[in-house]
Symmetry: C2
Subunit: 250 residues, 2 copies
């Protein structure tokens, strides 16, 4: 199953905010059984938000967005989403109750957070006011989250079980090769990918400590039996550890 | 002038690595005078890399990518870039000399880093081995960087002056409003955006400290005269500070 992550917000494009929501969501989707095939980052702009949702839904089964659900003038994610799929925005009692649990007085800006696209389901936001949104359009699932990281985390916890692919186990382990150089390891990694690449993914991450280069080698794979996947990944890591020693380090 | 940032790498999509390159590049482009209109994140996949470059060049004047310039099998950014614009890959003497400055022996994987797309210019990488790439195709400028953050920083330093838009000054200041609530500030922000929105951009960032919510209000603008822009932004911040006091905090 394929997933696309959308991040909405000028502050991300301007580099004012580091996009930790993206990695938090990416990790959850990967461990839940999805192949995250693209990330799209757009500004607080109605047409661009609508365009991102349309593009994502044309290539993925699951689309998760974060940002733009708040009370201010530039929070327009739900409007953009509705524009993309020609949906009406409706006052939703469940959503409004979720908002009212958090605030004492209802202003127009707060009422806005209780207006959601038709047929969508509000998801409780235990860490903030604006509910998350779950919607299924012709078999494509959309999860729409606010931009505050702790709220993303809280809402993802609520929906994780709903999107999890059954009997899927993803394992990602790594080994630190001190004194190794990425370019000298490359032939070994290429050889192992030829042998195990139909199932495993091996990637080298070059590092530097006090001017001394070293390499972290990551091996990941997935399967239905957790022990079997774990053993498979461990076996490849053992080969790397043994064979890397023989590589001609400069 | 419009810019698009492309990030290449499975580790970003899987959430294994937080995309700090994106914010580092976004900040430099914003302060250099560009409007970053989109971010595209793709895996280590030839067609998807080519697609990202094509998409970016159809909407932006400047395209900056990071990731996939190294020596391993899955470093294929230059191949994807060449595929997108039908360019030949050529051995480039300057690029090869830059690589040879860093390594003692030349393996096939290292030679790969001296092969670059036709008509492109290698940019010195003072923090690593793979040179960055600068290429102008029909007036669109492409800057292609490795994925290691310190190398991104080093190469961007080399090209910053070349891409900087003359007489452009971007100012971004903020004020912390303790005891404020984003939804209650919203009408004031909307009012100010009506008055100053043709030039200024105002955004609220809700925060939480020990369970106590507060709001950071960001004001940014740009212009040719640095003092004038600074004064303009300060004036709006002063209004916010004064008027926010009057907002009916719950």
């Amino acid at each position: 199953m394929k997933a696309v992550i959308i991040t909405i917000g000028n502050e991300i494009l301007k580099g004012r905010t580091v996009n930790t929501n993206f990695s938090d969501i990416g990790k959850i989707l990967t461990y839940s059984g999805y192949d995250v095939i693209k990330g799209i980052i757009v500004p607080d702009n109605l047409e661009q938000i609508a365009g991102a949702f349309k593009e994502a839904s044309s290539i993925a089964d699951l689309i998760v967005s974060s940002g733009g659900l708040g009370p201010t003038y530039d929070d327009m994610t739900l409007k953009g989403f509705s524009l993309a799929f020609n949906l009406k925005m409706e006052r939703n009692d469940n959503a409004m109750n979720m908002v009212l649990k958090k605030v004492h007085t209802l202003t127009p800006e707060r009422e806005k957070m209780g207006m959601i696209p038709e047929n969508s389901i509000p998801i409780e936001n235990k860490a903030g006011t604006a509910p998350g949104i779950y919607e299924n359009i012709s078999g494509k699932v959309f999860i729409i989250l606010p931009g505050v990281p702790r709220e993303v985390e809280a809402i993802m916890k609520e929906v994780e079980q709903r999107i999890r692919i059954k009997d899927f186990h993803y394992v990602d382990r790594s080994i630190d090769l001190h004194d190794a150089k990425e370019s000298l390891l490359a032939p070994l990694i290429a050889k192992l990918m030829k042998e195990y690449g139909d199932r495993a993914y091996i990637k080298t991450h070059p590092k530097l400590d006090n001017g001394k280069p070293w390499v972290e080698v990551e091996v990941s794979a997935s399967g239905t039996d957790p022990d079997e996947v774990e053993n498979f990944v461990s076996r490849i890591l053992e080969i790397i550890e043994k064979e890397a020693d023989k590589s001609n380090y400069e």
